[in-house]
Amino acid sequence: MQRDRPTTDGAVFEARHISKAFAGVQALVDVSLTLRSGAVHALMGENGAGKSTLMRVLGGLLRADSGEILLGGRPILLRSPQDASRHGIAMIHQELLPVPDMTVAENILLGREPASRLVGWIDRRAMQREARRLLDLLEADLPLQWKMRRLSVAQMQTVEIAKTLGQDARVLIMDEPTAAISQREVDALFRVIATLRDRGVAIVYITHKMDEVFRIADTITVLRDGSHVGTCPAGEIDRQALIALMVGRSVDDAAVRPRACRGKVVLTVRGLSRAGAFQDVDFELRRGEVLGITGLMGAGRTELLSAVFGLVPADAGEICVAGQPVRIRRPADAMRHGIGMVTEDRQGFGLIHTMPVKHNMTLAALGGYCRGPFIRHAQETAAAEAGIAALGIKTAGARQAVGELSGGNQQKVVLARSLLADPSIVLLDEPTRGIDIGAKAEVHALIARLAEEGKAVVLVSSELPEALALSDRLLVMRQGTVAAELDPSHTTQEEVLRYAMPR
């Protein structure tokens, strides 16, 4: 990798030695990136490798803790997206930011409306003309007068791209622009990228899709765990080598669980579908086993679990508990059938910040500590304290405010809530996300213990080493379907990633 080399010919944009930490977790460590005018630079890496963080630093949305950014050889300061856009850096976000009640044309020219100088009267005809011109570049045929909320996700994405094209950028950052758009729009987008490249724009392109990378990238940079692991011309690397670079680490950072013999089937899912989320998913779950589900972001894992638990019910398909078909329209139904879930979104769907630790823990199982409608406080407290002890939750006491706990301990509170209801089927969605190493190991041990006790566990995890070490079987999801069922003891991260990558 380049080290403080003077800017070579054609290098318009350089990021040098960028580091960034969030709440003590290092997201980027000394990462450098050089963009050349008239070239497409692909940025690749697993979920959480630091790609999006790096792009947010370059787009002025985040400030790096250290490092510098150079444009045309001169250091520049990016304190806001406005700074970035003044320097000719434009960004197409992974998440869409439409104004739903404004029209397509108004969204495309948001903040750049053609208007009379005197009173700011908007020139609607010029606006239509410019919006149409930008959409024509993308060969997209969208009605300019439609409200954004009428559009599909793909169409909104197209509008977002058109919005950026209007900014005449020197540097264009695209964070997974094809994640949600149709093949026709992808082809059009690639033609636009080629045109922009020929006009001398430097383009950063983030994607998970292998074939796209080899189609349009001139250079590829791979990030892993926030560090730069390699940069090379796209012509000098093949698919296999690229995956190996992305995965890189060894499997042994999560202890492998001794596999127990499996019991009878407790949960059967057949043909489960929800439009736009996942299609035709089948799986079986047995007593005493851990079924891992992995995949890239947006593969439909969270949506699948949410459907089994009734948070967002499925449109079609069948769920059977212990052989009996059951109707699950809401979480209360699932819980009645012995299903418990720990959601991925701990703040949104887990914790109740206005309640103390004790009340958070007993919420789902409160009926067990009641006589008639009345809570038996002594029993409730005893149950909460038993839970605190069993999971090793570090609190100042059962009455402490749950918001004062660390992330790992908050996660254990949410786990304890599900387990106090004594479910026979436990759905865990990213149970170790955002918690420290120590708490992570404890959660891993807990998962192993649950399986040993004869509970059936579904573990959704984006972390391959974790999924491989803990699962008895591993489902790989891709674009809403189950792409493969693998035996974790006879597979590799490379193989898993091959199935997970969109085709």
Binding site: P331, I352, H353, L363, P373, K394, A396, Q400, L405
Partner: protein, 325 residues
């Protein structure tokens, strides 16, 4: 970022939190004592048994309404229809309270049933229709007022049986409305603190999504809260009608604002999940004592309104500032 609690330093971390909670809980008690002391010093008329009983009588209707709306505010909702429903329930009760037609209990029950029906309607439209509580109860505020005028023909319903007016009288020297407020408060306090349904009300207000994920039927809980609020509003309407010895279709205008102000001064969060009956009663008392004091000091009612407005905003501002620390 809340600091993680390490096992070796629990004490240092707990004390400030506990102290803050104490101040939060008793800040309003301190305010009440200070205001009381100032008034006692300013006028000898304040600290007499007659005056204090009088204060209690004056706050009893606002108190019943405030206790009811506490349920709704705890779920994160709001009810703006209280004043109109008070009038409607009063008119209905008065129409059934003519001598010798029905037993007087029937009139009381009809008043309460009217309020309950209004509250349940609010709850159903909020939970089934998905319309914002502000809008639903604003609609009910207008509609219930209209219904009160229709039922009464636009005129006060008088000729009320003295049996009903006795509801505003005394037992053993204590005003019956005050006894009713006491009973309602104790029952509501026990309910919220000790029952499963009460706990679920706090959970729904604290984080609706998490409550649902914990298997709680959020819609049922909200419907329940609006219905209880409606029932207590009906009761308040009956008590008011008894006190003014008529069913007044124009009674109760803006009562909801006094009730909500008292609840919020008492520390219940408008976003739900935090607060309770104890705070609500203290808020009601604080507002009542200030009103009474300003009356005793012969402050014009114009200025009283200004003072009340400043106190409402000031109390909540102080409360939020404390909480942010």
């Amino acid at each position: 970022m809340p600091c993680p609690v390490e096992p070796d330093t629990p004490r240092r971390l707990v004390f400030p939190a506990a102290a803050r909670r104490l101040l939060q809980r008793f800040g309003i008690v301190i305010a009440l004592v200070v205001v009381g002391a100032v008034l006692a010093a300013a006028t000898p008329k304040f600290l007499t048994a007659t005056n204090l009983v009088n204060v209690a009588r004056q706050v009893s209707i606002n108190g019943i309404l405030a206790v009811g709306v506490t349920f709704v505010l705890l779920t994160g909702g709001v009810d703006l229809s209280l004043g109109s429903v008070v009038a409607l329930a009063g008119v209905v009760a008065a129409s059934f309270a003519h001598p010798d037609e029905y037993p007087i209990v029937f009139a009381v029950l009809m008043g309460i049933a009217t309020g309950t029906a209004c509250g349940a309607t609010n709850g159903l439209v909020v939970t089934r229709g998905g319309v914002a509580p502000f809008i639903v109860t604003l609609g009910m505020m207008t509609a219930a007022r209209g219904l009160a005028l229709v039922v009464s023909g636009g005129k006060p319903v008088s000729n009320m049986s003295p049996d009903l007016t006795q509801l505003a009288g005394d037992i053993l020297g204590l005003p019956i409305p005050v006894l009713i407020l006491a009973a309602v408060s104790v029952a509501s306090w026990l309910f919220l603190a000790n029952t499963r349904l009460g706990r679920h009300i706090y959970a729904v207000g604290g984080n609706e999504n998490a409550a649902r994920a914990a298997g709680i039927d959020v819609r049922r809980i909200k419907l329940f809260a609006y219905t209880v609020c409606g029932a207590l509003t009906g009761l308040a309407g009956v008590v008011l009608a008894a006190r003014i010895t008529t069913g007044q279709p124009n009674a109760g205008v803006a009562y909801e604002l006094d009730a909500i102000a008292a609840v919020v001064i008492g520390g219940t969060s408008l976003s739900g999940g935090v607060g309770g009956i104890g705070g609500t009663l203290l808020g009601v008392l604080l507002m009542g004592v200030i009103n009474n004091g300003l009356d005793l000091l012969n402050v014009s009612s114009y200025y009283q309104q200004i003072v009340k407005g400043v106190i409402i905003v000031g109390a909540v501002w102080l409360d939020r500032r404390q909480r942010r620390q």
